[in-house]
């Protein structure tokens, strides 16, 4: 149901959307059932003159079934939700695929700095491309990112990827994504980081291979001057 609002743009976006759908169906069922019964009972048992309420302590075995059966069914639903959620969590957050590229993302008040690998495809070499609030990646490639923060907590959030990860000063957090669509999309800072939190957006540019290669080639001279400063 999330795709109706935000495109699914990474390999795992659909997995997360499917779990959201699963939970939506399960809790939707329980919500509709309990709300329906609830209002049904209110309508049915409105006070009528001369009619006394029933005396139902709810302690007999038969009465307790009304609690115990739904209780068991909720447990079954819980197990389904846990399995689905843990599965997708392990895939997104606990496993790291073989990277095609590595990038470094640095959050600071109130901008994102993206360190891209240059023409050699390797991070932390002389031809790295550093850009502020602009991330360029190639579609269908495994990207492993190293997320850092220099001052306060930030959170690197790319809604189309369904990806969010806090950046913590003093730590480097590693994660990954693999984009499946091209175009230009929002990056947000999702953790309160001070008065500039509301302007700490960036854009992600997802490009095809040749497009991306052209962009890298284009950037190389600029970067040399930036480094010289």
């Amino acid at each position: 149901m999330i795709e109706q609002f935000v495109e699914a743009g990474s390999t795992y976006a659909r997995n997360i959307d499917n779990v959201i759908l699963l939970i939506g169906v399960l809790v939707g069922f329980w919500w509709a059932l309990s709300t329906g019964v609830f209002f049904g009972l209110i309508l049915k048992y409105r006070a009528k003159p001369g009619v006394r309420a029933k005396y139902v302590p709810g302690t007999s075995k038969v009465e307790k079934k009304f609690i115990n059966i739904p209780h068991g069914l909720v447990l079954v639903c819980d197990v389904l939700v846990i399995i689905a959620a843990v599965q997708v969590w392990v895939h997104v957050k606990q496993t790291l695929p073989e990277p095609d590229y590595e990038i470094r993302i640095i959050g600071q008040q109130w901008a994102w700095t993206f360190q891209h690998p240059g023409a050699d495809g390797e991070l932390d070499t002389d031809d790295d491309i550093r850009l502020v609030d602009e991330l360029h990646i190639e579609v269908d490639k495994n990207y492993v990112f190293h997320l850092e923060a220099t001052d306060v907590m930030h959170s690197f959030s790319v809604p189309i990827f369904r990806l969010k990860q806090d950046a913590i000063p003093g730590r480097t957090i590693t994660g990954w994504f693999n984009a499946t669509i091209t175009g230009e999309y929002d990056i947000q800072c999702a953790e309160m980081c001070g008065i500039g939190h509301g302007v700490m957006g960036a854009r992600i540019h997802i490009e095809r291979g040749e497009q991306h290669a052209a962009w890298v080639a284009d950037q190389t001279p600029t970067v040399a001057t930036v480094d010289a400063q």
Binding site: L41, G194, H197
Partner: protein
């Protein structure tokens, strides 16, 4: 029986206090040790703070609906002001509205009356508790007006932002915020000691554990949860205060500290805190529902066991607030399991509440409407929590408006709907007068409909990726689209409508308290002990010393088949005992 009466007569804290006509205004209203007066002090202070918190919501919702415009009654909202408003709205609504009204207000009002005691066990400690609370309220309000403005680092106050003035730009506001919250905890610790001790030790003769009304059970469980969880946060608050002012580095990685430590300390308290305010509201709802459905609570023991289970489980779920905060990702799996499992006791409670309506004789009075609305609205808050407690989906929903809508669907039913159920129900006990039913129902519908129209749109905004605490979404092209802006305007307009309808409540409340029709002793024909006092609004001491109530049965004996009346008060001696006497 005679022995019991003699015991009570020895207690010099008897019912004669209200005979003293020379009690000054100061001693009666401001320096009182009467639990009912302290309850009112807490409630009125909480209601005053609610007005402030609501005004803040009005201002920042106006900014969101009409970014950059002058908000009538406030002026333009700068980013710093916006952050301070959302931060203090959250802080005030939880710590200075929900806590004082639900725990301290209803705890003070109900515990002695419903267990049949003349006052709290430690009345002076009780008075001190309120006084410290009042100081904390003054400090948090003052913090909004100091140089640099109020603290704006979100109500969770994550360091390093909250720890360093160079980052948050509110050196005084941030420290005063911590001090105010700390003082408030001290106040509630004193209250908690009183609540637990009074309910354990001062029960009327004959009142066994399961004769104690559910609301009292829940208030006591909530107090225990609070006292068991608040320690780590107080330690954290002291460390934060030191980091802010003494240059220590508990949360500063450059000095060997760890910012995530605060999150653990905060949420170790923060999650049980949800149940600290939820349980009293659920207790109020249970009592009100039983009275107006004329029903015995369905499986009363199960409700109490599930509340205890919820309380215990709530200590093992805190890291679901931190799934994506950089903790070891394997921890998320453990906390997903505990968090999703908490749905079992909570769902069970909801089933029990619904089952209680079965076979009832339901009277839709104003208190009953609020109680039923609590269940209906809280169900929405409950089911939407699953999306957030499941680690895999929280990756997307974390820190979006979906979270915000979810917890407003829990906290609004708790702090506002549950409270209003309680206030409208026990109003005759507090003021000896009845509230106006027509105005009560106008207020009910004028609150419930706009409430849903305010927060349902926020679920959609959150699902569309709108993240929190942003003063103007025009910086994010995907969030600045017209349909989303229209939903923001809808939410703001609905909020304003809801706020306007609160005037109806205030009018009804004040007018009824001063000149409403006199209430009879037991206007709702309820069974619990608070309705057995000599007058509708008892004086200090609650019952005359020679007429303290005894308890003979459970709290919800409605429609008992062996009785002609459809209610059987807890203090009415069984027929055979009377014969023996």
């Amino acid at each position: 029986m005679a022995e019991h009466a003699a015991e009570h007569a020895l207690d010099d804290h008897g019912g004669g206090h209200d005979d003293h006509h020379d009690v000054s205004f100061f001693h009666k209203y401001l320096w009182s040790t009467d639990h009912k007066m302290i309850a009112k002090q807490y409630m009125f202070t909480g209601m005053g703070m609610a007005v402030i918190g609501a005004f803040m919501a009005y201002v920042f919702r106006m900014q969101l609906a009409f970014p950059g415009s002058e908000v009538p009654g406030f002026g333009a909202v700068s980013p710093g002001t916006y952050n301070a408003l959302v931060t203090n709205h959250g802080t005030i609504m939880i710590f200075w509205v929900a806590m004082p009204v639900l725990i301290a207000g209803f705890g003070n009002l109900l515990i002695p009356l419903m267990v049949g005691a003349d006052d709290m066990v430690f009345p002076r400690l009780n008075r001190l508790s309120y006084q410290i609370f009042l100081v904390s309220a003054v400090v948090i309000i003052y913090s909004l007006f100091v140089q640099g403005g109020g603290f704006g680092g979100a109500w969770t106050a994550y360091p390093p932002l909250s720890a360093k003035a160079e980052y948050n730009l509110t050196p005084q506001g941030a420290s005063l915020w911590v001090i105010a919250v700390g003082l408030e905890f001290v106040a509630f610790l004193m209250g908690g000691i009183n609540f637990i001790t009074t309910a354990m030790n001062s029960r009327a003769p004959g009142m066994k554990a399961f004769d104690v009304p559910i609301v009292i059970w829940f208030l006591v469980i909530a107090s225990i949860l609070f006292m068991a969880s608040v320690g780590p946060l107080i330690a954290g608050a002291v460390m934060l205060l030191f980091d802010q002012n003494l240059g220590t580095g508990f949360f500063d990685p450059n000095q060997g500290g760890d910012p995530v430590l605060w999150q653990h300390l905060f949420w170790f308290f923060g999650h049980p805190e949800v149940y600290v305010v939820l349980l009293p509201a659920m207790g109020i709802t249970a009592d009100v529902m039983c009275v107006f459905a004329r029903k015995k609570m369905f499986a009363q023991k199960i409700v109490i066991y599930t509340a205890i289970a919820t309380g215990v489980l709530s200590f093992f779920v805190w890291a679901h607030h931190q799934f994506i905060s950089g903790i070891d990702p394997r921890m998320a799996n453990v906390f997903t399991v505990t968090t999703v499992l908490i749905s079992i006791p909570i769902a069970e409670m909801c089933f029990v509440y619904i089952a209680t309506l079965y076979g009832g004789s339901i009277r839709l009075t104003t208190p009953m409407l609020w109680a039923l609305a609590f269940v209906a609205e809280f169900l929405i808050g409950g089911v939407t929590g699953i999306f957030l407690g499941a680690s895999g989906t929280d990756i997307y929903f974390h820190d979006t408006y979906f979270v915000l809508a979810h917890f407003h669907y829990t906290f609004f039913p708790i702090a506002i709907i549950g409270t209003l159920a309680g206030i409208t129900y026990w109003f005759p006990k507090m003021f000896g007068r009845m509230m106006d039913e027509t105005l009560g129902k106008i207020h009910f519908w004028g609150t419930i409909i706009p409430f849903n129209m305010t927060f349902i749109p926020l679920f959609f905004l959150g699902a569309a990726g709108q993240h929190r605490r942003i003063y103007d979404y025009s910086n994010f092209p995907e969030l600045a689209v017209p349909w989303m802006q229209n939903l923001r305007i809808l939410a703001t307009v609905s909020l304003i409508v809801m706020l306007v309808f609160q005037v109806v409540f205030l009018f009804n409340f004040i007018k009824s308290a001063l000149s409403g029709p006199k209430a009879s002793k037991n206007p709702w024909q309820a069974t619990t002990l608070e309705w057995t006092t000599a007058t509708a609004e008892p004086g200090h001491g609650n019952w005359p010393p020679d007429a303290m109530p005894n308890c003979y049965r459970g709290p919800y004996e409605y429609a008992n088949p062996g009785r002609e009346d459809d209610f059987w008060p807890q203090d009415e001696p069984p027929a055979d005992t009377e014969e023996q006497a």
